[in-house]
């Protein structure tokens, strides 16, 4: 677990492409063993599938990275894997840029995951142990979205602009597909896994909207998603400890026997739905504003994803927590103080970011502005100055 953590940190800190790749890859091994060693009954195939999918993506990434370095070498006579040096060079133009962009994005899209590269994730999420899934979904998956904003935007601004509609479409597809499939799940953990796919779609949507608001929201959503998904997985894991099942069919009336757990679940769930006042709302709202400014119809389609989120989460909640508890469900114990202590920081952050996102946004905005400028500087693309800026700032203040 600590190895996984340090590898993730390593990737986020690397400015050197090669170093990034090393850490990016090496996250796989501990994650593979965490899923395989401590997961649930179908952990073997899930771990294998997880490893192979991500490995496949990384194969393209590695070729992409080495190619970038050598093309740069040929053009400037300097062989380097340093991101700053590479992006200062002004980006890779034309068809080469697009191909390289696709190679990089393939890896990140698998990791993120984005539809249709997501098929590993429900398996891996639902089969890994609670702690494992919190790190894999909450932190490791962010490597994918981080990679997009850090490397794709910096290295291939033109390809980013050119291919934005494609990525936006994929993002919307993930949002809707994740939401619809989540509606059909009868297994709490799989449902959260699919809802996670849907939310990561939002993040990618925010990126490729290529507006300041969209990027702001997307980066914020990365944080938010890590918080509430981790909370949801943790709660579901706690339910499992008591009832040995994830299936909504066998859970009912849990509200009676464990009111505190149900209450915490409600908060995390509402954050995931995007209720104003909780952190999910801020991110999604900014993303939708940003997208609406440049790509209206994509934003409209994505908004329906929010509605679906309400449907599946509330449905699931209704099935599992409402109603008359059966014999076993009535006997289940409520949260212990130890479990409460684990959940408390997550819960506090969910509420705090929902009410007062300013501190985070203040940190995110300068880097986002820099990225937008970088993209603008190397292409003819001009990000629209959204008139809602004032309102968004106000939102940042008031929630």
């Amino acid at each position: 677990m600590l190895v996984l953590e340090s590898a993730c940190l390593g990737s986020f800190l690397s400015l050197d492409l090669l170093l990034f790749f090393l850490f990016f890859e090496v996250t796989l091994v501990p994650a593979y063993f965490v899923i395989g060693g401590w997961g649930y009954e179908r952990r073997g195939p899930a771990a294998l599938k997880f490893f192979l999918y991500t490995f496949l993506g990384s194969a393209f990434l590695l070729v992409g990275i080495v190619s970038v370095a050598f093309i740069h070498d040929r053009q400037t006579g300097q062989l380097t894997f340093n991101l700053l040096a590479l992006s200062a060079h002004g980006g890779f133009r034309g068809g080469v840029g697009i191909l390289l962009f696709l190679a990089f994005t393939a890896a990140f899209a698998v990791k993120a995951p984005v539809f249709p590269f997501h098929t590993w994730s429900p398996e891996a999420y639902s089969q890994s142990p609670t702690g494992g899934v919190m790190v894999i979904a909450g932190v490791m998956a962010k490597l994918g979205s981080y990679g997009i904003i850090r490397f794709d935007f910096d290295l291939f601004p033109q390809a980013t602009v050119r291919l934005a509609p494609l990525l936006l479409t994929l993002a919307v597809a993930s949002i809707l597909y994740g939401a619809v499939v989540a509606c059909r799940q009868r297994d709490l953990k799989r449902m959260v896994a699919y809802s996670s796919l849907s939310h990561l779609g939002f993040i990618v949507l925010g990126f490729f909207a290529l507006t300041q608001q969209g990027l702001d929201g997307a980066v914020l959503e990365m944080t938010n998603h890590g918080l509430y998904t981790a909370a949801l997985f943790l709660l579901i894991g706690m339910v499992y400890v008591r009832r040995k099942t994830f299936r909504t069919g066998e859970l009912n009336g849990l509200q009676r026997s464990m009111p505190i757990l149900a209450g915490v679940f409600t908060v995390a769930m509402l954050a995931a739905i995007g209720l104003p006042g909780l952190n999910g709302f801020v991110g999604e709202f900014l993303i939708l504003i940003g997208t609406f400014a440049t790509h209206r119809w994509w934003a409209v389609a994505a908004t329906t994803g929010v509605v679906f989120a309400a449907i599946y989460l509330l449905w699931a909640y209704q099935r599992a927590f409402h109603g008359q508890p059966s014999e076993e469900n009535a006997k289940a114990k409520d949260l212990s103080w130890r479990e409460g202590a684990v959940l408390a920081p997550l819960l506090i952050l969910i509420v705090a970011i929902g009410i007062y996102p300013r501190p985070l946004l203040d940190r995110i905005t300068p880097s986002v502005v820099a990225i937008v400028h970088h993209v603008e500087a190397s292409t003819s693309y001009v990000a629209p100055s959204v008139t809602t800026t004032g309102r968004v700032a106000a939102l940042g203040g008031k929630g």
Binding site: E25, G36, P45, A46, V63, V66, P122
Partner: protein, 586 residues
């Protein structure tokens, strides 16, 4: 009579004897000499000595020749490369690299073979002296600067290996492997020899340096003869390194040979073959690059793809390693296609790391195989982590390294090959190589899953999928397990037992039950369970696996090399890079 004889002698020009620089030949001399000393000592001692003696002698020989090679390397560093024995042998960084590699392989071979020798009640002297002999052949191939010397090295290497393959007298498969290897090997040697003849006809020399200068100075108007010679040389060496389409012997021979011999064969025959290939192509025929590059491109792609695909569907671990070695050969060929100094360095580095990976892997296979190397099925590795945690851990590291995970030498080897080929603009080839690497990774990881006992329960739950209606991903999971599930009785057995309740319960009880059932079924049907395995006694565990000290040492060495130089690559990489600076290529 006498005057006539003196007349004849007068007419024959005085035989010009080459100056022999014995110091330059010492590593080879030590290796070959000790092989004969060992054989002689064995035949002179009436009752034979304990096997440990021969193992120690072989290890000492490997260490000695390795040390001598390093000393030779020092001399090359200070005085530059030189040719010995009238230009027949080249002493440069490249040959030193391979001398060290082969010496290391001999040490590892002695250690890996020791448990096998004791288990099979063999004498040891025979196996090990043949091993040293074949190693000296590989050394000659690597150092050769003359096509004929390459051929001699090839024959010394191969003939010893034919015998080694047959050494497992208790298995018919061993004899079969030897016959197959011998017939096809002799055939390919003949082709190689014919290639030498044609090349000699076209260029007037068998010396690589002279061929190189001849080709640089003259433009052949009728290239047919030379190209035919080149093609035949490629076929001969392609056979040795097991490149597709000259690979058909590999799985059968790897499967049939005694396990330690297989590892040795994979490491040393490949090293010798590639050393000769690189030297012929890079030192003698760089001018023909446009002719041989496309051919090698095709060979590389075929080896990568065919090796990867066939490795995935194997059930037998040795066959799987055979196909994966074909895929590795494809990867190394990618480095050759790059046709640059970086490419040659990546070839050397890849082979060096591969030697440790494959020798370590086969040391484990030797131990798990049990008497007469009978247990080679994937099922025999089930639950190895519980029976021998350290053995399984070491094997898992080696497998993951072969898959090319960062911070192991396996990743760096792949990385340098890719760097070399991309620097020459081979983007497509790089992508194909990486995709093949991912496909092969599937098998390594499945083996790890099986060893850690995760796959059995998975197959059961996958077969008895209780996933929600309309969930596409449950079917997806089924597909991934398919190779395991469909071909193995275990999958069916566990699947039959995997009723919804059981699958949902999962956890320890369900897992243990499913594995116990599968192992029971497997052993009952195949009748391989030598120790009567009462069901339920050792849940999911097969026969106890010994973990002899020699295997511990070899595994520790291989894992240490893989991990330490994976994290701190500079020394080995520099070694490989310096080794190839002397070629005339950029």
């Amino acid at each position: 009579m006498t005057p006539l004889l003196s007349l004849l002698v007068a007419q024959v020009p005085a035989l010009r004897l080459p100056q022999v620089d014995y110091f330059a030949l010492l590593p080879e001399i030590v290796m070959a000499g000790m092989a004969f000393v060992t054989l002689g000592a064995r035949s002179l001692t009436r009752r034979g000595l304990p096997p440990a003696v021969w193992t120690l002698v072989t290890m000492a020989t490997g260490l000695a020749s390795g040390t001598l090679a390093v000393l030779l390397g020092r001399r090359v560093e200070t005085h530059g490369a030189f040719a010995a024995v009238d230009g027949a042998l080249a002493v440069d960084g490249f040959s030193v690299l391979f001398l060290v590699l082969v010496s290391a392989a001999v040490v590892l071979f002695a250690l890996a073979a020791h448990p096998w020798i004791e288990r099979e009640g063999e004498d040891g002297a025979e196996l090990l002296s043949l091993g040293m002999l074949s190693a000296s052949g590989a050394m000659f191939m690597a150092a050769a600067n003359d096509l004929l010397v390459i051929f001699l090295g090839l024959e010394i290497l191969s003939i010893a290996l034919y015998v080694l393959a047959a050494l497992n007298r208790r298995r018919a498969a061993s004899g079969e492997a030897a016959i197959k290897y011998f017939v096809l090997g002799a055939f390919s040697s003949a082709i190689f020899l014919y290639g030498i003849a044609l090349t000699y006809g076209a260029t007037g020399s068998t010396n690589l340096a002279r061929i190189g200068t001849y080709l640089a100075a003259n433009v052949s108007t009728h290239g047919g003869l030379l190209l035919a010679g080149l093609a035949l040389l490629l076929v001969g060496l392609g056979f040795k390194v097991a490149a597709v389409p000259f690979h058909t012997w590999t799985p059968d021979v790897y499967q049939g040979s005694p396990s330690p011999v297989t590892g040795f064969m994979a490491a040393v025959a490949k090293a010798g073959g590639f050393a000769a290939l690189v030297r012929i192509l890079f030192a003698a025929m760089p001018t023909l690059r446009l002719d041989w590059q496309p051919v090698l491109y095709a060979l590389a792609v075929l080896s990568l793809v065919v090796g990867a695909i066939l490795a995935v569907v194997q059930r037998d671990v040795k066959r799987m390693l055979a196909y994966s070695s074909i895929s590795h050969a494809g990867f190394i060929l990618v480095g050759v296609v790059a046709a640059s100094a970086a490419g040659a360095a990546s070839v050397g580095y890849y082979l060096l790391t591969y030697t440790f990976l494959i020798m370590g892997s086969f040391a484990v296979v030797t131990v798990v195989g049990g008497p007469a190397d009978a247990h080679q099925d994937l099922e025999d590795y089930r639950g190895l982590a519980r029976r021998q945690p350290l053995l399984a851990l070491g094997f898992a590291i080696l497998l993951v390294a072969q898959a090319g995970v960062p911070f192991t030498t396996g990743f760096l080897a792949k990385f340098y090959v890719l760097t070399a080929v991309i620097a020459q603009g081979g983007y497509v080839l790089a992508v194909i190589a990486m995709l093949a690497a991912v496909a092969v990774a599937f098998f390594y990881l499945r083996l790890v899953l099986v060893m850690y006992g995760w796959a059995g329960a998975g197959a059961g739950a996958g077969a008895g999928a209780v996933g929600p209606v309309g969930d596409a991903d449950a079917a997806g999971a089924g597909e991934v397990v398919l190779p395991a599930g469909t071909t193995s009785l275990a999958g069916v057995g566990a699947g039959g037992g995997g009723e919804p309740d059981l699958a949902v319960l999962g956890g320890g009880g369900g897992l243990a039950l499913a594995t116990a059932t599968s192992t029971g079924v497997e052993q009952a049907i195949s009748g391989e369970g030598l120790v009567a395995a009462p069901e339920g006694l050792a849940a999911g565990d097969g026969d106890p696996v010994p973990f002899p000290d020699a295997t511990k040492v070899v595994l520790a060495l291989c894992v240490a090399f893989t991990v330490v130089f994976g994290i701190w690559p500079a020394p080995v990489v520099d070694f490989a890079r310096h080794a190839t600076l002397l070629f005339g290529l950029r």
